[in-house]
């Protein structure tokens, strides 16, 4: 098994809620509340969950755009949150991010050359000044844009092209890890596949590791080697792609999978859908015990008091991490395996 390049241990991020005239802290939004995982070299770890589950905050913590309330991230043997000044700047070269919104992620007053070249301005030792223009054009070429468009402004590009610019900026410093925060969800369907394929190509060519944060379970299945499912700031289930999609043991994962519409009308009546009660509770006041117990179809008294740990639990074929007292595998979707055919075609 490949070694871990990034290890997050018990990450917690609580945002204070200020109230009253004196702006005193009256509570905390528990956006991320004890998340641990490993990212292996060269793999894609998908993080899925609904809005408010803390997946975007997690991405920002891993980028150190936010300081955690507690917990640690070790990157390549270095404790990220202990780094300061030059050491932190150096570390930033190795972890980069691609944002969701291709419209707000590019400075509208800069040319594409400025945007993609900014990493070289900030880290001048990477590419000598003379070679920068060439380096930027090479990057544009790599992400499938016309290198001659270096002097254009972001608004002259479509959403998909802008996302490619964002990716070019992200990989400029040759990072080891790229954190992708919903990189395709703002794009048109016919353009999504282009960007997903580009990201897969770049991973192969540059040996990148991805953390792929998204709410679209189909895209995550397609691109990920392993998948983590988040609910209200905690990891509900974590395992190989096969484990999560083929043998989910957590009721939330099962409900989530059953709700995803599959583009095949013949499955209409075959699919059983697990309908969840109510809405996601507020992360400012999460339920006691298991956070999912208020909506869970399996909930018992134990779930209201005891927090289930994320630990290896049997899934029928083996075991994978799941945070449910009553973890039990259940097949939600019938998987059509195209891997062998795909390999056959390639040969």
């Amino acid at each position: 098994m490949a070694e871990a390049i990034l290890t997050a241990t018990d990450l917690v991020k609580h945002y204070p809620i200020k109230g009253g005239v004196l702006r005193r802290t009256v509570g905390h939004v528990k956006a991320v509340d004890g998340v641990s995982f490993e990212l292996l070299k060269g793999e894609t770890l998908g993080i899925v969950g609904e809005s408010g589950c803390g997946k975007s905050t997690l991405g920002r913590l891993l980028m150190r755009l936010e300081e955690p309330t507690s917990g640690s991230v070790v990157f390549d043997g270095v404790d990220m949150y202990a780094q300061k000044g030059r050491a932190m700047r150096k570390l930033r070269r190795d972890i980069q991010i691609v944002f969701q919104d291709p419209y707000t992620s590019l400075n509208p007053r800069k040319t594409v050359g400025d945007i993609v070249g900014e990493p070289f301005d900030i880290h001048p030792d990477v590419v000598p000044k003379k070679g920068r223009r060439k380096a930027v054009q090479d990057l544009l070429d790599l992400v499938g844009l016309n290198p001659e468009h270096i002097n254009r402004y972001p608004h002259q590009f479509s959403g998909g092209q802008r996302q490619r610019i964002g990716i070019a900026r992200g990989i400029a410093l040759n990072p080891k890890v790229l954190i992708c925060d919903e990189p395709v969800s703002a794009l048109d369907v016919s353009v999504q596949a282009q960007v997903v394929n580009l990201m897969e190509k770049l991973q192969d060519e540059l040996g990148l590791s991805y953390i792929f944060i998204a709410h679209d379970l189909s895209v995550v299945r397609h691109i990920s080697d392993r998948v983590g499912v988040m609910y209200l700031g905690k990891m509900a289930e974590l395992g190989e792609e096969d484990d999560i999609y083929g043998r989910p043991t957590h009721p939330y994962t099962q409900a989530l999978l059953s709700a995803v519409p599959v583009p095949d009308p013949t499955l209409r009546d075959k699919k059983e859908q697990i309908v969840l009660k109510g809405d996601v509770p507020s992360p400012a006041n999460p339920p006691s015990g298991c956070r999912f117990h208020t909506r869970c179809f399996k909930a018992q008294d134990k779930c209201k008091t005891d927090i289930p740990l994320l630990e290896l639990r049997p899934d029928g074929a083996g075991e994978h991490l799941s945070a449910c007292h009553f973890a039990q595998p259940r097949e939600i979707i019938e998987t059509i395996d195209l891997t062998e055919q795909g390999a056959g075609n390639a040969v």
């Binding site: 997903v196 709410h215 519409p261 583009p263």
Partner: protein, 348 residues
Amino acid sequence: MTTTDTGTRRGKAAAGSEYHAKDGLLLEVEDLYVEFHTADGIARAINGVNFDLYEGQTLAILGESGSGKSVTAQAIMGILDVPPAVIPKGQIRYCGEDLLTMQAEKRRKTRGPEISMVFQDALSSLNPVFPVGWQIAEMFRVHRGMNRSDSLERAIKLMQRVQIPGAKERVKAYPHQFSGGMRQRIMIAMAIALDPAVLIADEPTTALDVTVQAQIMALLQELQEERQMGLILITHDLGVVADVADKIAVMYAGRIVERADVYDLYRQPAHPYTKGLLESIPRLDQKGQQLAAIGGLPPNLMRIPEGCAFNPRCKYAQDVCREDRPALRLVAPGRESACHFAEEVLNG
């Protein structure tokens, strides 16, 4: 479930609507064109769209941004801003009467009791300064002349119908006190309040989480079956369409490029664009799938390519596609496609 207020279409006609759907035919859109006149030029948003909608039918209009799907909905509802929008040509007939030539006042009165719409963004569609119950009740006060307490009573009933828990207690709550899914339910309640014959849902679940999306789609379907409404579902999501639609019209650059029964279309698309879309989306139930992305970009509506608008992105494209714009034609029983090589696409 509780019974409806006015029952089915037949009941409604008896209740005094002046419109009668002959043989269940509610809506006919014929050769519709819409242009936007902007400072930079003319954007041709819709270029000759035809379709019919029957009682109890769910028609999905599928397309990407800029395909003209939302503009079509807005043209039917009569909520396009004119100018910049111009409708140079076409008819939109509701129960045989052309909405486009109808007197403004008469047309206004069709919005609500006859044709009604659910929008994507429920938060901005609701007025933040009035309680939700009051906003639903307003429909009854304005259109039915009911008094305050009766209309509020009806509002509560409707909120219960769209499964808002604790409707009685929450009728006085404000929009921001509801979650996204609940707000969309309120929007649906308002849209069906006057028992319309046609309901247009414009990306009703795009802003919602997947578990909530499933609930809302289920609700829409249930209401549609119960009231035998004609439902136009406008979306870009092939998954949602597969789950609920009867018929699909696929739009590209302001034209319908393919129209078929939902089962046929997913099994064997007859237009290269539809085929490309189906091959490019990742499927939840497939592992190790290769995504065959459609190259290029949707066209600029100010400079739609000559011939077939899809030709620069199409792998079937020949010279004829660059010169001659293919019309939507019958290529097999129940199958229509606007492609010169539709038979090849269909069989290969």
